[in-house]
């Protein structure tokens, strides 16, 4: 009998671990999504560079989080604010522990690491799009090291590592705040220090559009992100191996899908009404906004409510993109600050609509704390990099394109034309 119970626990452990790994692989896939989205929304002369940034940032994130980030976020903390520091990954669970007493582990520690490491890469991917087409490649990598090794893990510890935000009752299921708004805050600090692309704003304050070179890529990127998000939110339930948890994961999948659908349709409608055209890039940003909106709470809303939350996110993102672009003159080529930052805040607030455990004040506290920390810390780091190495390429390199300047090659050597 004990043998049988042990066997069942082992199977559950295996199922939960496998679930975690599959969901993690889906999230890893989001790295490809960000790459394609960003590569599609920049000009052809800066495409190889943004691709280099994306694949290398994912690699840097993996390495830094393994070395120190994971332990900062989930290791023994000094206090609920100050994390401890230690290095490397520990051993996995023994079979005996799993079949042991109450509170036995549900899944492999390493599967947990895998799931977590793809999250930090997601946060960092948000940054690359916003600073595209003008930031130095190696300055970006320097920032990536600090962000993925320290800035993100510290605020991550405050919430998911059981720190003070968690204790205060701040709710963020899969990371509208911890991941998305954090990435956007780091991006915002970078964009402010970096300035707009040459030619984006006329001397007379006029705003010029700089169309992305390859919209099929951008669309592919959005679909990849949409798919990967099933892992992002679906895996954040952490367990699947009993009826209640399985139902919860199913609910998360459905709501994630519905919010994206709502955001996509809403953004397209707004764009159509406002600009007179069905701006594809807005539909794409709308779908992503729907996904960000639901990420803080994909479990408690009904599917209808999730659609609505996503749709509101879709409206917000269009308004925010236009405002940041034309009023605040913050040049964000892919709309990352709006999609992940502004809509991330909406997502955190929307938790209060359906989750009885949420309190508006605590949600605001969380938003304020995460934003303040990430923005301030990032600002300082960008500033140091700016002073020491410089963060912006020369004007000439910007005209010629970063591909040739930084990477020594062209993304489309046979297609691209000389103008623009």
């Amino acid at each position: 009998m004990e043998q049988v119970t042990g066997d069942i626990l082992q199977v559950k452990y295996a199922l939960d671990t496998f679930y975690f790994l599959v969901m993690g692989a889906f999230v890893m896939w989001m790295a490809a999504g960000f790459s394609m989205l960003e590569a599609g929304l920049v000009r052809s002369k800066n495409t190889a560079e943004i691709l280099t940034k994306n694949i290398v940032l994912y690699s840097i994130a993996s390495i830094m989080y393994m070395i120190v980030g994971y332990n900062i976020m989930y290791g023994d903390a000094i206090s609920s604010i100050i994390p401890g520091i230690s290095f490397g990954l520990g051993l996995d669970n023994a079979a005996s522990a799993v079949t042991g007493a109450d509170g036995a582990p549900y899944y492999s520690n390493l599967s947990d690491f895998f799931f977590q490491v793809v999250f930090v890469a997601t946060a960092m991917s948000i940054v690359s799009g916003a600073v595209a087409e003008r930031m130095k490649l190696w300055a970006f990598f320097a920032f990536a090291i600090v962000f993925t090794g320290f800035i993100y893990p510290i605020e991550g510890m405050w919430k998911w590592g059981g720190g003070f935000l968690d204790q205060a009752g701040f709710l963020d299921f899969a990371g509208s705040g911890v991941v998305h708004m954090a990435g956007a805050a780091a991006a915002l600090a970078g964009v402010i220090l970096l300035g707009a692309r040459k030619g984006k704003y006329g001397k007379d304050g006029s705003v010029h559009a700089i169309p992305g070179a390859n919209l099929p890529l951008a669309t592919l990127g959005t679909f990849i992100l949409w798919m990967g998000w099933f892992g992002f939110n679906g895996g954040s339930e952490l367990i699947v191996s009993n009826v209640d948890e399985a139902n919860a994961v199913a609910m998360v999948f459905v709501n994630t899908n519905m919010a994206a659908a709502g955001g996509c349709v809403a953004a397209l409608l707004i764009a159509r009404l406002w600009f007179g055209k069905a701006d594809l890039t807005m539909a794409l940003n709308g779908a992503l906004a729907g996904l960000v909106s639901i990420t803080a709470e994909p479990l408690t809303p009904s599917p209808e409510m999730a659609t609505l939350i996503g749709a509101i996110g879709g409206v917000i993102v269009v308004v925010s993109i236009v405002m940041l672009d034309s009023k605040l003159k913050l040049d964000d080529p892919v709309g990352a600050i709006s999609v992940h930052g502004v809509v991330g805040i909406w997502g955190l607030l929307a938790v209060c609509l359906t989750n009885p455990d949420a309190a508006l004040s605590t949600q605001l506290l969380g938003i304020g704390v995460i934003f303040a920390w990430v923005f301030a810390a990032s600002f300082v780091v960008w500033m140091i990099i700016k002073v020491v190495f410089g963060i912006r390429v020369s004007e000439e390199e910007e005209y010629e394109g970063l591909d040739v300047g930084e990477c020594g090659l062209e993304a489309y050597p046979e297609f691209s034309t000389s103008v623009k």
Binding site: D279, V322, D325
Partner: protein, 113 residues
């Protein structure tokens, strides 16, 4: 010999090519160009920001012909390329001193036949 250079609307290329072939013209070189003229391009909104498309896609057709065929060719092109809407394009006639066919070294009208 004269070089006839016509700037036309891209979708008229096939009509012009066929009309010229019917008129006995069998050598053409075409280039994709962009034009700016009375047909003014348009302003679009991309992500809510203005986007001027000042230049309109056009196709340039060049054909070298003996001087005595200029009138026929010009007329043929005008007829085939005309839509009566602004932006139909222009034809320029210029002088050529010398023509050489690379394959044979033939010169001038021989090179054109």
């Amino acid at each position: 010999m004269k070089m006839i250079t016509a700037i036309i609307k891209p979708f008229k290329l096939d009509d012009v090519k066929d009309a010229l072939a019917d008129a006995g013209i069998t050598g053409l070189t075409i280039t994709e160009v962009r034009g700016y003229g009375r047909q003014k391009g348009h302003t679009e909104l991309y992500r809510g920001a203005e986007y001027n498309v000042d230049f309109v896609p056009k196709t340039e057709i060049k054909t070298a012909v003996p001087a005595d065929q200029v009138d026929t060719v010009v007329e043929t092109i005008v007829k085939a390329a005309r839509t009566d809407k602004v932006g139909d394009g222009k034809i320029f006639v210029t002088n050529i001193d010398r023509v050489v066919r690379i394959r044979t070294g033939e010169e001038d009208t021989d090179a054109l036949s």
